[in-house]
Amino acid sequence: MKLPESILRPVKLIRGGMHLDHQKNTAECETVIMPTPSTVYIPLSQHIGAPANPIVKKGDNVFVGTLIGEAGGFVSAPVHSSVSGTVADVKDLTIGNGTLQKYIIIESDGKMEKDPELKPFEIKSFSDLAEAAKQCGLVGLGGAGFPTHVKLSPSKDVEIDTLIINAAECEPYITSDYRECVEGLKDVIEGVYLIKEKLGIKKVVIGVESNKPRAIELLMQVAADHRDADDSVKIMKLPSKYPQGAEKVIIYSATGRKLPAGKLPSDVGCIVMNVTSVATLYRFITTGMPLVSKRITVDGTAVSEPKNLLVPIGTPIKEILDFVGVDMENVDRVLMGGPMMGNPVVSCESVLEKRNNAILAMRDKKPQPQTACIRCGRCADTCPMSLYPAMVETALRTGNKESLNSLNTNYCMECGCCSYVCPAKRPLTQVMRTAKAEIRRQSK
């Protein structure tokens, strides 16, 4: 089918960025529901901000969706049980990359019984939407893990005119947001209209990269069916260029507005939400079921049969990889998230968190030798923020504080482009992180 002409073109495109090998091997893999694990380890800190406070104790019976941890502050999020069964323990473990964190360990009874007290959430006023997001335990599902209710409670001084739904999914391998657009299409579009209506936003842009034509087509159709009087929901076809899905980049594409370092999207009149976050919020409002399971893509160079799975939060990664049939002998590293910005796990005892959208098991290629910087300038050419990573490296190595401070490292969003393109194989993204930490340390 030929796409209608009404698809929006990006208002502006950012300089830099690059074309990656998409590796969307799982794009047409329908989501498989993972068998219930015998035990889940639910971390109390799965978001940016204060950890949740446990409200259950050893021996308590819980159901799927039962609140087990209350938000520990405004910038925090509650956690819910992802299985039905018995709380085995509440204790500190080091399975999350070696740092000591509090977990609620629940032994599953295998029945996956829903909490009988769950009921649809009624939205009466503007502020109820943020309250719904909070009770849902919703955090930024694109990977950042920022509590959504904070985002949905903009200060009264700023005027929000654009809601941007991020379905760009620019990281290689990951297709979980795409599957949400296909399988959860109704939830996505209903959620979009609900948020738009409750927040009183005039314009909605759903940004999808051009390598997902089917998602664009489906969204177009339902948006046309739901069309409101002022035809306010538009689909924007974004170029398939990494890091198109980064918040600053997608805001620029949708509105032409530049979000400076240290500012929030609301400062330029925008709210950006991940597409799965929108669908999850809608499902919570209609069914009362909070965020207890997550669709993830399991793929990577060491995975022979990649899949999309629906997995209860707190499931050990080892069990997920076993289910997909990954031979751990072939695996050198396991990533939570995409290959560009994802975090490696120390061991497969780590568990699935809310913000994860992929688990990649990678087998390393033979690394190319690192050489001295040859000043080719590719890191600067590819940097979407127009920074100079190679110069930052020199300033850091020589301890030139003045130069380091003048290079605006705080604008870096750690997208990884500089390290990726560097022919000398220098760890430039790591350099940028170190430089940012060094500047913070000095300013204290």
Binding site: P260, A372, N408
Partner: protein, 304 residues
């Protein structure tokens, strides 16, 4: 305890381009002109190229061994330096002088400043200048490829020459500089492979052309008669010693063009490409610093 996994800072994938790959690309781009030079000027030219390349690689290997540094000849940059130097010499250059040139390029200009990536001047170009001022007589001894008679380069004598002869290299000059045609092919290859950007060559050659036109000089001689093509495409685009910013590249190219023109027009020398590039190499750190762009969104902050 489950299997230990590798944990590194993201990103976890890398582009396949490498330092060695880039050096090999430049060598590939130079080869047609180098081979043509050997056909044009005969066995002597081939011997000079072999000697400069071998001496350059040996110098770097010995330096690393003597100072107990990791061996770096695998990055192929020494091969490139040797090849570029050889292509910038006349086929009549004594072999021992060519060898000294490679030693100067690698040891003095490159390794003494810290090796690959840390030299401030182009090694091959600077070595050529060192040879030029040290062995002025032997260095400016050029032969015509047609009759093997000793003759000055087209820029220095006044015998008439056609555009075709100039463009395809049927004239005296350094081994690798005469065929503008093959050098441009090499340059286009590098641009297609995204190894170099066209900014510096276009600005350099364009500035020389415009200045020559204004001064009423012979355009075809100015562009195709000397070392401009080799210099503008392969020497002035050396990553290490030229600006990294696009605006800086433009400034660099125009600066090189102007200095080349001034030396040719008003100086005592027939050719000025090497000196122009060397002088602009020295300015490179300053050009870089003055042409840095503002980060994304910084202008908006400044306005508000």
């Amino acid at each position: 305890m489950s299997k230990l996994l590798k944990v590194t800072s993201s990103p976890h994938i890398r582009h396949e381009d490498s330092t060695r790959g880039i050096m090999l690309d430049v060598i590939i781009a130079l080869l047609p002109a180098a081979i043509y030079g050997c056909i044009l000027f005969g066995l002597r030219a081939a011997i000079i190229l072999v000697v400069t390349v071998a001496t350059a690689v040996a110098s770097e290997a010995i330096w690393n061994l003597a100072l107990k540094k990791p061996q770096t000849i695998g990055d192929c940059s020494a091969i490139l330096t040797g090849l570029l130097l050889g292509m910038n010499l006349s086929s009549q250059t004594p072999v021992w002088i060519a060898a000294i040139g490679s030693v100067v390029a690698i040891i003095v200009v490159k390794q003494m400043f810290g090796g690959l990536g840390f030299n401030f001047a182009n090694p091959a170009m600077t070595a050529r200048i060192v040879l030029l001022v040290s062995f002025a007589g032997q260095m400016s001894n050029y032969v015509s490829p047609i009759d093997a008679v000793t003759t000055a380069t087209p820029l220095a004598n006044n015998t008439p020459i056609t555009l075709k002869e100039l463009f395809f290299g049927m004239h005296s000059g350094a081994i690798g500089e005469t065929s503008s045609f093959l050098l441009i092919i090499g340059g286009l290859y590098l641009m297609l492979r995204r190894v170099i950007k066209p900014i510096i060559p276009v600005a350099f050659i364009g500035t020389v052309a415009i200045a020559t036109l204004i001064a009423g000089g012979d355009l075809k001689l100015a562009i195709f008669g000397g070392g401009l093509m080799l210099g503008a495409i392969f020497m002035a685009t050396d990553y290490v010693t030229t600006p990294t910013t696009d605006l800086g590249k433009l400034v660099f190219g125009i600066g090189c063009g102007l200095i080349t023109f001034v030396i040719r027009q008003f100086g005592a020398l027939p050719e000025g490409v090497s000196y122009a590039i060397l002088l602009m190499n020295i300015l490179t750190p300053h050009i870089n610093r003055l042409t840095l762009s503002k980060p994304f969104g910084a202008k908006e902050v400044a306005k508000s």
